[in-house]
């Protein structure tokens, strides 16, 4: 079995050669006063349709010619190859017309979202793996509630048992809002551990005023704060992994339709040059 590195090297070399072949064909064709735009256009459309089939493969079992991992590999390398074809097709110029600019923008945003998704799917899972536990995205809301409930129970039990309100006041003033409310937009876009560190530091400060039973309860609160932060980190990161697909897939089908229209118009207005 080939290693991932050797497979990536092989696929990268093949993709590079294919891209160079397309660029070379366009140069050769142009130097013969021919128009490579039709050939590269059809090649690009073929690539886009093939890339779009990756999303359709589960709905159409008859095109499941390989495993999901195989599809993904093909999707990635054909996607990169399509960028070279695209650049050759537009002759390395910025399109000017409304339709062509829209089409180019659709392609570029789809391609960029794919690249971003590829980057995230390669970098986020290791980050998540370094967190204490694995959490399913769909369960995270329930687990957040569970953490909040557990913290509340712990504090109430301690207050009842000791009669001291120190821990209760701390919970009410500093922790309750953190555990009950979802995190802000900035955290979703750029998760960080500032709040977690600040709360843990404050709880550590409070610990010297606590009795022994309260100290035991505070240990539970330490764990619950960390868990809540882990859950938030998972939620934000897994949201990224899911939301880029909204853009990527959402633009794929409009891209196919507008590309077909563009090709049709190109034939209509080419009008037999001779």
């Amino acid at each position: 079995m080939k290693s991932f590195a050797s497979r990536r090297l092989r696929n990268s070399v093949l993709t590079s050669f294919a891209a160079l072949a397309v660029v070379g064909y366009a140069w050769w064709s142009t130097s013969r006063l021919e128009r490579p735009a039709f050939a590269t256009g059809y090649l690009l459309l073929t690539c886009i349709v093939f890339l779009a089939l990756y999303n359709t493969r589960k709905k159409l079992p008859m095109i499941a010619w390989t495993t999901s991992a195989g599809w993904l590999q093909a999707h990635i390398y054909v996607g990169i190859f399509s960028a070279a074809v695209f650049a050759t097709h537009i002759a390395w110029r910025i399109p000017r017309g409304a339709l062509e600019t829209s089409l180019a923008a659709l392609y570029l945003v789809t391609f960029a979202s794919g690249l971003l998704g590829l980057y995230w799917t390669r970098t986020i899972p290791p980050k998540l793996a370094r967190v204490s536990e694995e959490f399913l995205y769909e369960r995270i809301p329930a687990l957040r509630s569970q953490v909040q409930l557990r913290a509340q129970q712990t504090v109430l039990e301690t207050v009842r048992a000791t009669g001291s309100e120190t821990l209760g006041n701390f919970y009410a003033q500093r922790l309750q809002g953190y555990l009950e409310k979802p995190r802000g937009l900035i955290y979703w876009l750029r998760p960080n551990s500032k709040v977690r560190k600040r709360l843990l530091a404050e709880l550590t400060e409070v610990t010297r005023y606590l009795s022994e039973p309260e100290c035991k309860a505070s240990e539970t609160l330490f764990a619950l704060i960390r868990r809540r932060d882990d859950l938030d980190f998972h939620a934000a990161m897994q949201w990224r992994l899911k939301v880029w697909l909204f853009v990527h897939i959402g633009l794929t089908y409009p891209l196919v339709i507008v590309a077909c229209l563009h090709g049709w118009l190109a034939h209509l207005f080419y009008g037999g040059a001779l």
Partner: protein
């Protein structure tokens, strides 16, 4: 170190592909059933109570909390129901988003394609200013796409019909281009490379190939078949913005067909061949002798700008006219050359007795013109007599340059020919008397094989009056030769018409014409007709007469300066003017003086045009081939231009000097077809770059029957 807290995540199994999730999952464990397929909450009970005797008992699973404290209702129903608002799964939401995007795109496309702005929206970019200023005006704006694209004004239904009806694609784009550009480029040949028949083009570029058919199949080393047609849009690419220059062609485009690949003008371009002069100058002028001898003798400065000025376009250095350049020195000699006028009709001295003895009766002949044979017929008379078959035959017998002095009175054939010529001359005079100027027109039209224009007849007759003819018929050729009322002194007669006109000379019995001055219309008209007649039935006779008329000693001394060229059809042509901007029409190589002489170092003409002191320029005018010549300036070399024409300086692209549509007009295309004789591989002016060696002067090509001009 604090131990991590582990909390139970539950045992439920989420299925991401499900469209709906239980709303309770947001707060805690979801209900065991979950939402239905359409997202409806089943509001399931926590358990199904069991009837034990007459009581109902809770049956909730221990995993979900076991038996509840409230227990079932008296009717046996569970008191706890899971009620929620089901939540759509992320995947389902994504699916709806994708469908929404798709529908929005299709809707937007339908709106745009059916709206008035359809063509604006689908246009791949703005037009260049060259086309935009014509097509984007208010009255044309709606139809502007249709100006270049057949589909521009078609409906969506017609667009769909393109699949089944190819006729809808017509006319093609190139045809539409030529709708507007047909005045510059002949439609029939517009798509040929350089608008020239590929056979002729290849024969010109590869003269060493023996078989013309091989030329059409010898494109293996080229990137493109040079015989294939080229659409206009191949090079002229539109919709690249207002600033885009439609005529900007890359060097690669040229080298698609051209076998030689030039990476740099300075190092790769072939050496120039006879540049800039590819033929002798039309006015025979020896720059060297004028510079070294004539001007110093007259204490004049020999400056280029005295005779050559830049034309309004700036591209061409035109030669100024005779009056401002040559007249000062040469006019007196020219005037002297026709001081006695030019004989137009003359009665020669005839040996009437010899003619009568030989049995030839010439009728009445003036006594003063009777004696030994002497005198020559004027060229004008001879030319008019050529229209008379018998006279033409006799002229050929005696020779076109015959003189009656040379007639042998004992040679019956010569006497017979002389008689025929004299009778024909008398007939001509009689016709002139009875019909006047139309006689000249009729004879010239017969000779030239075409109708004369009124302007030509005016020039050829120079207002010849019937009174002048009457002197010939009623005084000189009358039965009783009386005294002439005309002037008795030829000199006095000439002086009296010093500004030009007709007069008779009773001494020599000649009707004479005194030219009005340089470029006299009568004289130039007759010389032009002599040249034109050189291609006709009596070509040899006319050519000999033209040679006499263009002798340096002939009246007017026309031949001293005005060269005579032989055209490809054998006809002679007198060059009355120096080179004009329109003389050669479009050329493959174009040069404009204007941007060059702006440079201080190039402002002096001698920088590029260096006189060749050793050149025997005037020798080249003794024969009629304008391309067999010795230039009086040294040829320009590639290196002269390459000093500035580098990529980083003045540029060295192909189209900076060469024009693709050089042969766009029909006139020029025929000129090329005539200049290039592909099957003998002789070219005039359009030489292959490879032929660097000096070409030997060519002899006259034998006149060949003309082939029909078919493309």
């Amino acid at each position: 170190m604090r131990e991590p807290l582990t909390l139970d995540q539950g045992d439920s199994y989420e299925r991401p592909h499900q469209k709906w999730f239980c709303g309770l999952a947001e707060e805690g464990p979801p209900c065991p059933l979950g939402p239905g397929a359409k997202g409806r909450c089943p509001q399931a009970a926590a358990c199904h109570p069991l009837r034990v005797g007459d009581r109902w008992r809770c049956n909730r699973s221990p995993l979900r909390g076991g038996e509840c404290a409230e227990g079932p209702t008296p009717e046996g129903e569970c008191c706890r129901r899971y009620v929620c608002r089901p939540v759509r799964s992320l995947r389902a939401r994504r699916g709806r988003f994708v469908s929404g995007c798709l529908l929005a795109t299709m809707g937007a496309l339908c709106l745009l394609l059916s709206g008035n702005w359809r063509n604006e929206w689908i246009a791949p970019g703005q037009l260049s200013v060259h086309h935009a200023q014509l097509l984007a005006r208010d009255e044309n704006k709606t139809n502007r796409c249709a100006s270049c694209h057949a589909a521009g004004n078609q409906t969506m239904r017609e667009w769909l019909a393109h699949v089944t009806d190819p006729a809808l694609t017509m006319p093609t784009q190139s045809m539409l281009c030529l709708d507007c550009h047909k005045n510059n480029i002949t439609t029939e040949f517009a798509l040929w490379p350089h608008n020239i028949d590929p056979k002729i083009l290849l024969a010109n570029s590869e003269p060493s190939r023996p078989d013309p058919d091989l030329l059409l199949t010898s494109h293996s080393s080229r990137r493109r078949d040079p015989t294939a047609e080229i659409a206009c849009s191949t090079c002229h690419q539109e919709h690249l913005g207002p600033e885009h220059t439609l005529t900007a062609i890359s060097d690669r485009a040229c080298q698609a067909c051209h076998r030689e690949e030039f990476h740099s003008f300075a190092t790769d371009h072939p050496e120039f061949d006879r540049w800039p002069e590819q033929r002798r100058t039309r006015i025979a002028f020896d720059h060297t002798s004028h510079n070294a001898k004539h001007f110093p003798e007259e204490k004049q400065t020999f400056a280029c700008s005295d005779c050559h000025h830049q034309d309004p376009s700036g591209a061409f250095q035109e030669t100024l006219g005779y009056e401002s350049t040559c007249a000062n020195c040469h006019d007196s000699k020219i005037q002297a050359s026709w001081a006695f006028g030019i004989a137009v009709i003359s009665l020669p001295m005839l040996d009437v007795d010899a003619l009568n003895a030989a049995g030839h009766d010439i009728g009445t002949w003036p006594e003063s013109a009777t004696g030994d044979f002497d005198g020559a017929l004027p060229l004008f008379t001879k030319l008019l007599l050529l229209a008379d078959e018998q006279a033409a035959k006799s002229i050929n017998t005696l020779g076109p340059d015959f003189d009656f002095y040379d007639i042998d009175p004992h040679d019956s054939a010569q006497l017979e020919a002389a008689t025929t010529i004299i009778l024909a001359t008398k007939q001509l005079i009689a016709e002139l008397e009875s019909s006047g100027q139309p006689t000249i027109a009729t004879r010239l039209e017969k000779l030239l094989g075409r109708l004369l224009t009124p302007a030509e007849l005016t020039r050829a007759t120079a207002h010849l009056s019937p009174a002048s003819i009457e002197i010939l018929t009623k005084e000189w050729l009358a039965e009783q030769n009386g005294n002439s009322n005309s002037l008795t002194d030829g000199d006095a007669g000439s002086d009296q018409v010093a500004a030009g006109g007709w007069f008779t000379d009773p001494v020599t019995l000649t009707l004479r014409y005194r030219p009005t001055g340089h470029a006299d219309v009568f004289l130039t008209a007759w010389i032009d007709m002599l040249a034109e007649a050189s291609e006709g039935q009596h070509g040899n006779a006319a050519e000999n007469m033209l040679e006499l008329a263009m002798k340096p000693t002939a009246p007017g001394m026309c031949g001293s300066c005005h060269s005579v060229d032989r055209l490809e059809n054998g006809q002679l042509k007198v060059n009355w003017f120096a080179k004009q901007p329109t003389d050669l029409g479009p050329q493959f190589t174009a040069f404009s003086h204007a941007p060059h002489i702006l440079q201080a170092e190039l402002a002096d003409c001698n920088t590029c045009h260096r006189l060749d002191q050793t050149a025997k320029v005037m020798n080249t005018y003794t024969q009629p081939d304008p391309y067999a010549f010795v230039p009086d300036f040294h040829e320009l070399t590639r290196q002269n231009c390459a000093e500035c024409h580098t990529p980083g300086a003045a540029g060295d692209s192909c189209t900076q000097c060469h024009r693709y549509h050089a042969a766009g007009s029909a006139e020029f295309r025929w000129r090329i077809a005539e200049c290039i004789d592909p099957w003998s591989h002789q070219t005039h002016g359009f030489r292959s770059h490879k032929s660097h060696k000096p070409q030997p002067a060519r002899a006259h090509r034998p006149r060949q029957p003309q082939e029909p001009r078919t493309p």
